[in-house]
């Protein structure tokens, strides 16, 4: 029988690592494409029109998700290891920060959509 390890903390650990590896694979490609702006601008334009396809937009959603998950995972780890607070204190603090992000984020979206 396989070792049973599926609990939230372990899943958070795996998500953090997998998103980190995926971002590490993405970044060299990202910089390579950006370098076309200097070397071959027409190729960059070609790529940008390719990136307008809906499928690529979905992939971009995945990228932003990876970034968000990796950042949240890093903040979680730092809070867990560097703040000698009790678990309920950390839960409350994380909830407050999340709520603040939600409010300020929706305000920001409203501002830029006008």
């Amino acid at each position: 029988m396989r070792y049973a390890r599926t609990h939230p903390l372990w899943l958070a650990y795996v998500l953090h690592r997998v998103s980190g590896v995926a971002l590490a694979l993405f970044l060299p490609v990202h910089f390579w494409v950006l370098s076309y702006a200097l070397t071959q601008p027409e190729k960059l334009n070609q790529f940008l029109s390719f990136a307008d396809q809906p499928v690529v937009k979905v992939a971009e959603f995945g990228l932003v998700f990876l970034l968000a998950v990796h950042m949240a995972g890093g903040l979680r780890l730092m809070a867990m290891e560097w703040l000698p607070w009790s678990a309920p204190q950390k839960t409350l603090a994380a909830g407050a920060v999340g709520f603040a992000f939600l409010l300020s984020g929706s305000f920001f979206l409203q501002v830029i959509s006008i």
Binding site: M1, Y3, R5, H7, L9, W10, Y13, M80, E81, P84
Partner: protein, 241 residues
């Protein structure tokens, strides 16, 4: 006599590292722990079954085993909480060498307690006046959080970092080190930081949290290791100044 209509299908590990699971039919009773089931097999089905237990009440930490792939104290785990479709699988603790059947070799586990600086070194002799310790004090509260450890090795078996790095001291030894580090009556507190910051030390921990999730006494080795990470880092920068 209770009716023996129902049977449990219990597969237990037999042999050493290259052994295999053997299945036994064990009568199911209303009140039965995993340890009761294992004992039934040894007493009525196969007297050569090897396993380890002592107190049967969750005090001694001898009877931990893998139950359905999860480390558990078998004397305090009711069979009803783990049985799946009338079957349960019991194996020797993970991350430790198997001696035979369900008995794991605990030597590496206890050696690491010593390696992590877990041996108490008193700060005073019996001739000195007794030091007054306030139980509410922050350091003492940190130390008290870990003292109920029964050395059962459930956290050690649960830890994937131990599985990946045999030199890693593991959650129990590091929690013991954190307890002593916060104990005002321990003489050797700075040496603990040296002992836990080497190759197999606290900085190997990936905070997967299986130790804290599976600890039968509901202790929190993961936070104790986080404490060691903070103190060793602080100590590192203090030294450089």
């Amino acid at each position: 006599m209770p009716e023996e209509a129902e049977k449990l299908e219990v597969s237990v590990w037999r042999g050493g590292a290259d052994g295999a699971y053997e299945t036994f039919q064990v009568p199911a009773y209303e009140n039965q722990t995993i340890l009761d089931v294992v004992s039934w097999i040894q007493q009525y089905a196969d007297p050569t079954l090897t396993y380890r237990f002592a107190c049967r009440v969750g005090m001694c930490g001898s009877c931990a085993m893998m139950v359905n792939g999860r480390p558990r104290w078998t004397c305090r785990t009711h069979i009803r909480t783990v049985v799946q479709d009338g079957a349960v699988q019991v194996g020797p603790l993970r991350n430790l060498p198997v001696i035979k059947d369900l008995a794991a070799d605990m030597d590496p586990f206890f050696d690491k307690w010593v390696a992590a600086g877990g041996v108490h070194s008193p700060s005073a002799t019996r001739h000195d006046p007794m030091e007054a310790i306030d139980p509410q004090e922050t350091d003492r509260a940190e130390a008290s959080a870990g003292i109920e450890c029964i050395n059962c090795s459930v956290c050690y078996a649960a830890c994937d970092t131990v599985a990946g790095n045999p030199d890693y001291l593991g959650p129990a030894a590091l929690q013991r080190a954190w307890t002593l580090y916060n104990d005002a009556k321990h003489d050797d507190r700075v040496n603990i930081l040296d002992a836990v910051s080497g190759n197999g030390g606290c900085h190997n921990c990936h905070s997967m949290g299986s130790c804290t999730v599976y600890c039968p006494n509901e202790l929190d080795p993961m936070s104790a290791i986080a404490g060691l990470k903070r103190e060793t880092t602080r100590n590192f920068f203090r030294k450089r100044r």
